[in-house]
């Protein structure tokens, strides 16, 4: 308190000085009341909150944006990035013409970038596609997509790649963002996406953020949390994190835990709930079953890669064989004095699971006592153990209290985790045990980092294993439904799951993918262990296309760069983290020759005839009922029966279909706004509406219902949370009072259908016997804590955690071109604890080497600021291509979700001399 008074006094003093200093300086007047500004409704370009925006344009340019007061997500407010949505369009180096590496007038991988026409760009792109396809078949080509794809772009990509090229090598950067959340939703509920909605913030009693620095990453949700905390004295905020951050500043209780021990904390909490008799027995008996899965599932690393650096080999060896630490032995109920060795496999079936009894579940939890977990999990070596223990007990008090409601939010701290799927499932474990799931104000709630990670990557299904509306390529019934809606011959779709985005990078290095199109993402900056992938891109025989709005790090390693239209320069739609679908109109025209991604895909599809792609194709490893091993059959003769000709193009078959052409342009819903896709394609139909309406058909009638396109543009609609049935959105899924799909009278009905027939067994494994159907049930998983693949040791003695900052979004390609955001945070700093810095002779502002088994880079040291790391850990944000931290990070993934763990690896830091 004294400190505060002192600060205040100091400020008052400063204030007096200010009076003198400021004399005669007129306040910079606000720009005059804007004349001729036309306001149109839009959505923020950045995170998964999905703030409603009003976009002002004047004379063909976006001049400003403001928060949409009507939109319940953000009620008129935006964060510092959101307010910059106008400026992000106008960086000086916007890409305006295609750029191709050339030497002596033709494409050359070693050439410099020269401006070319779209015609030439597509000619070379197609020739290179055919070269790769001829050599390797459909698996030799790949598309890296995005959670920033509009719904229509993602849907067009799925059709082009999966239906057109018969390849499942389409995977989004969202793999790095929330694949673990998806896997856990499917395993727990049998259907993807949160049961709750943002209204839970105002309805709950306690918000718990787990690996979610909401104050910086979702500032407008944080505004709602803080608002509620200030108006309601009994409201509580707990922040669980591996370092003190901006969210800690607003929290009531901050719990700093050691990386990876979140799994142990959940098990302690569950053990407490059971011990205290706080299990909601009725809820569990009616709506839940208990489940377990295999334990030694590896770390998603490559085994025996010939390209591995010598220093990487010890971490990769743990992939195959682990010797349990003392703590791991205790956690498994084994003798800690004995040696326990376990062989692991990355290629097993980590997703397998089976039913267990409540007694088995309880047995799994038994080792996770307060004493054991507190000693294991305490993350700040300078915090007394008793203080840490007391906070764990306080947290248990919250969850175990039957009267208080909780919402547990998480983001990348959980998802980017070698046990990401498990730790997501543990959140549901506790909420289901206590009956605090799918009820207003109560639920475990996964947040997303990208504006349409939900709406596009997940719902449209731009993952290597997915089809629209939670369907999968390796499910014959799902393929049949998709082939029906797309009017494709039977067996056109490829039943073999494609490469996920991490695997695509590995495939590139191994020469298994030789043609890659990157859309709306910057994967060569955002993928861990990046030295491998930039080397593969530049030094091997392959062809890389990057469509983007600015030159990015990925475009530096590309062979062809295509200029894209940006958010308000095209028609689009996003789906946010609470299942809210929001569509927008195009406001202004894209600059130069920049084109919408929908146009790019449609135009490129004109260069493929059916005879080229729908004949027999080799697919190594393909094994599926009704298919010859390793082959996709020719479907050309059945295509003829559908009225297609061998020289029909993919454009005719996939995009300009008779049904699509019925959506005429101009359309009254356009309200006189332009459509550049229509203009550039020279057509008289409305591709974005046609794509959306066709996509909608996938979700109708089974809990994924979207409203018709035009409804989202009604004045009184600010997006709608699906399922939208009879024009009504759904706030709480699975709850019969709110969700029309939940059986009336059930109270709660976990009606998701996937993975709902299981064998029974013990923690050790399933037993032979019948598979039990589980209609209406959710699964409470027991998941053990384990050591991560790499921890600090004598050589690499510090943990490295990476993440974002409030002012920059992802790889910074938009926000770093906004002058005031760049000036606020001009570069990625290395956050170090003062004592760790001192030990290494480092002061604030010094240049330091950061080095891991995988590479080394330089960064400037900071000892203070909003990120306060405990001793033993350093933090570096990843937005800055000049501080290329992903050259350092480890490409270990959750073996189930294949999502990379960017939150922990071992590094050393030294002073640059």
């Amino acid at each position: 308190m004294t400190l505060m008074l002192n600060r205040r006094t100091f400020l008052q003093a400063g204030f007096t000085t200010a009076t003198i200093g400021a004399t005669g300086l007129p306040l910079e007047a606000l720009p005059a009341e804007a004349k001729g500004w036309n306001w149109e409704r839009g959505v923020c370009r950045f995170c998964g909150t999905g703030c409603g925006i009003r976009v002002a344009s004047k004379e063909g340019r976006v001049v400003a944006v403001k928060g949409d007061i009507q939109n319940p997500v953000n009620r008129g407010l935006l964060c510092a990035k959101g307010y910059a949505c106008a400026q992000i369009l106008y960086g000086q180096d916007r890409l305006k013409r295609p750029l191709l590496r050339k030497k002596d007038g033709k494409f050359d991988k070693q050439g410099d970038f020269e401006e070319v026409s779209w015609q030439e760009a597509f000619d070379v792109m197609k020739a290179q596609w055919s070269k790769a396809h001829k050599a390797l078949g459909p698996t030799g080509v790949a598309v890296m997509g995005s959670g920033q794809y509009t719904i229509q772009e993602g849907y067009a990509a799925v059709k082009l790649v999966k239906a057109g090229w018969r390849s499942n090598n389409l995977d989004p950067n969202a793999r790095h963002c929330m694949a673990s959340a998806v896997a856990a939703f499917m395993q727990t509920f049998g259907i993807d996406e949160p049961s709750g909605c943002f209204d839970d913030i105002e309805l709950t009693d306690t918000v718990v953020t787990w690996g979610a620095n909401m104050a910086e990453m979702h500032p407008m949700l944080w505004a709602r949390v803080i608002d509620e905390r200030l108006r309601r004295p009994t409201y509580r905020i707990f922040n669980l994190t591996t370092y003190a951050n901006a969210t800690s500043e607003g929290a009531d209780v901050e719990i700093v835990f050691k990386p990876n021990t979140d799994l142990a904390i959940w098990n302690y909490l569950a053990r407490e709930v059971v011990k205290r008799g706080a299990v909601d027995k009725d809820y569990v008996a009616k709506h839940c079953v208990f489940a377990a899965g295999p334990t030694d599932i590896g770390f998603g690393l490559r085994e025996d890669s010939i390209k591995a650096y010598a220093a990487e080999k010890d971490t990769q060896a743990r992939q195959k064989n682990v010797v349990l630490t003392r703590d791991e032995a205790i956690a498994r109920g084994l003798d800690p004095a004995a040696k326990h060795e376990r062989s692991q496999s990355a290629s097993g079936s980590p997703q397998r699971h089976w039913l267990i009894s409540f007694e088995e579940f309880q047995k799994g939890l038994e080792p996770y006592t307060l004493d054991f977990v507190a000693a294991l999990a305490k993350g700040d070596p300078d915090e007394p153990l008793e203080a840490f223990k007391a906070k764990l007990v306080q947290l248990a008090d919250q969850y175990a209290n039957p009267v208080r409601k909780q919402v547990s939010f998480w983001t990348m701290g959980f998802n980017q985790h070698t046990r990401g799927t498990w730790v997501n499932e543990q959140a549901y474990m506790l909420h289901l045990l206590t009956g605090k799931q799918a009820r207003p104000g109560a639920g475990a709630f996964s947040l997303t980092g990208q504006p349409s990670a939900c709406g596009t990557a997940r719902e449209v299904g731009t993952f290597a294993h997915r089809l629209p509306s939670d369907m999968n390529v390796d499910d014959a019934a799902h393929r049949k439904i998709s082939e029906g809606i797309w009017n494709l011959p039977a067996n056109t779709l490829n039943p073999k799951i494609g490469s996920h985005i991490v695997q695509m990078m590995r495939d590139l290095e191994d020469g298994k993918v030789k043609w890659l199109w990157v859309q709306v993402t910057n994967p060569f900056q955002s993928s861990a262990n990046a030295n491998h992938w930039i080397e593969a891109a530049r030094k091997l025989d392959n062809f890389i296309v990057v469509s983007d709005v600015y030159p990015t790090l990925s475009s530096k390693v590309a062979d062809l760069i295509l200029p894209s239209a940006m958010i308000y320069e095209k028609w689009g739609g996003y789906g946010n983290a609470e299942r809210r679908t929001q569509l927008w109109r195009q406001v202004v025209l894209p600059p130069g020759e920049a084109r919408s991604d929908v146009w790019q895909m449609m135009e490129f599809s004109k260069r493929f005839t059916l005879s080229e792609v729908w004949g027999e194709q080799p697919v190594p490893g393909l094994e599926a009922e009704g298919y010859e091993k390793g082959k996709l059959p020719s479907v050309l003769s059945t295509a003829a029966a559908l009225g297609y000709k061998p020289d029909s193009t993919l454009y005719d078959v996939l995009f300009a279909t008779p049904a699509a052409k019925k959506f005429a342009w101009p359309d009254p819903v356009a309200d006189r706004k332009p459509n550049s896709t229509v203009i550039h394609a020279g057509i008289t139909w409305f591709p974005e509406k046609a794509l959306f309406e066709e996509y909608r058909r996938f979700g109708l009638g089974h809990g994924h219902d979207l409203a018709p396109f035009d409804v989202y543009f009604k004045r009184d609609v600010s997006g709608l949370r699906w399922p939208v049935v009879d024009g009504k959105e759904t706030l709480w899924r699975f709850n019969d009072q709110y969700d029309p799909y939940a059986k009336k009278g059930s109270g709660i009905d976990f009606y998701g259908k996937a993975l709902k027939k299981l064998p029974s067994g013990t923690l050790e494994g399933p037993k032979p016997g019948d598979h039990v159907p589980l209609p209406g049930k959710a699964k409470i998983f027991f998941r053990p804590w384990q050591e991560p693949p790499e921890s600090p040791d004598a050589t690499y003695d510090l943990w490295l955690c990476t993440g974002r900052v409030l002012e920059h979004w992802h790889s910074g390609t938009m926000t770093r071109r906004v002058p005031q955001l760049h000036a606020a945070v001009p570069e990625a700093l290395l956050f170090v604890h003062a004592k760790d810095a001192e030990k290494r002779g480092l002061k604030a502002g010094d240049l330091a080497w950061i080095e891991s088994r995988r590479g080394k880079i330089q960064a400037r040291v900071t000892l203070e600021g909003r990120t306060k790391v405990p001793r033993g850990m350093v933090y570096v944000p990843w937005f800055d291509e000049g501080v290329f931290i992903n050259k350092i990070t480890l490409d270990a993934t959750c073996p189930i979700s294949k999502e990379t763990d960017f939150k922990k690896c071992a590094v050393r830091i030294t002073k640059v001399v």
């Binding site: 400020l11 400063g14 204030f15 009076t19 003198i20 200093g21 400021a22 004399t23 300086l25 910079e28 720009p31 009341e33 804007a34 002002a56 400003a64 008129g76 407010l77 964060c79 510092a80 307010y83 910059a84 106008a86 400026q87 106008y90 960086g91 000086q92 050439g111 410099d112 970038f113 020269e114 026409s117 944080w222 505004a223 608002d227 905390r229 108006r231 500043e249 607003g250 080397e535 030159p551 790090l553 475009s555 530096k556 203009i679 550039h680 409030l806 002012e807 910074g812 770093r816 002058p819 760049h822 000036a823 606020a824 570069e827 330089q858 400037r860 909003r866 800055d880 501080v883 290329f884």
Partner: protein, 151 residues
């Protein structure tokens, strides 16, 4: 003009307007870091704004909707916690602004748009309590690239 002709003309327009092709660009010259992807650059040193409140002229507003950038040092103003918000001590002062006083929090910040959108309250509303969500600090870093944005 028929529906078909207009799009065709608009389609051709950018091609007609495009200037002569630019010189070949090596990849190192693209993007915000003018280095090869294989190089390890030494990042420059930037300094946080060090001036006290009122010592420097207010920077120009970006547009009438963009929250003003914080012109002074934050060193003595943060953290903002549930109990302490030193920004408000100076900026949320009642009565008309006198010469030399801090910029007043505008009336908009007293309206609770979620719960009571029609009336102005006595306190800055909770949803606007974390000033740094919208108002950014500054350093001495020059822009990373030019901008053709104008309000």
């Amino acid at each position: 003009m028929s529906r078909l002709i207009l799009p065709l003309i608009l389609c051709a327009a950018p091609l007609l307007m495009a200037g002569p092709p630019a010189k070949p660009v090596p990849d190192r010259d693209l993007g915000l870091s003018r280095t090869s992807v294989f190089e390890v650059p030494a990042p420059p040193l930037f300094k946080d704004e060090a001036s006290g409140p009122g010592e420097k002229a207010l920077p120009k507003r970006i547009n009438k909707e963009y929250p003003p950038v914080i012109p002074h040092s934050l060193a003595d103003c943060v953290p903002i916690t549930q109990g302490t918000n030193l920004c408000l001590d100076c900026h949320a002062v009642a009565g008309p602004k006198k010469k030399g006083e801090a910029t007043r929090v505008p009336a908009s910040h007293y309206v609770d748009l979620r719960h009571a959108p029609d009336k102005k309250g006595a306190k800055v509303v909770g949803s606007r309590y974390v000033c740094l969500s919208c108002h950014v600090p500054r350093t001495d870093a020059p822009p990373a690239t030019g901008s053709s944005y104008r309000p």
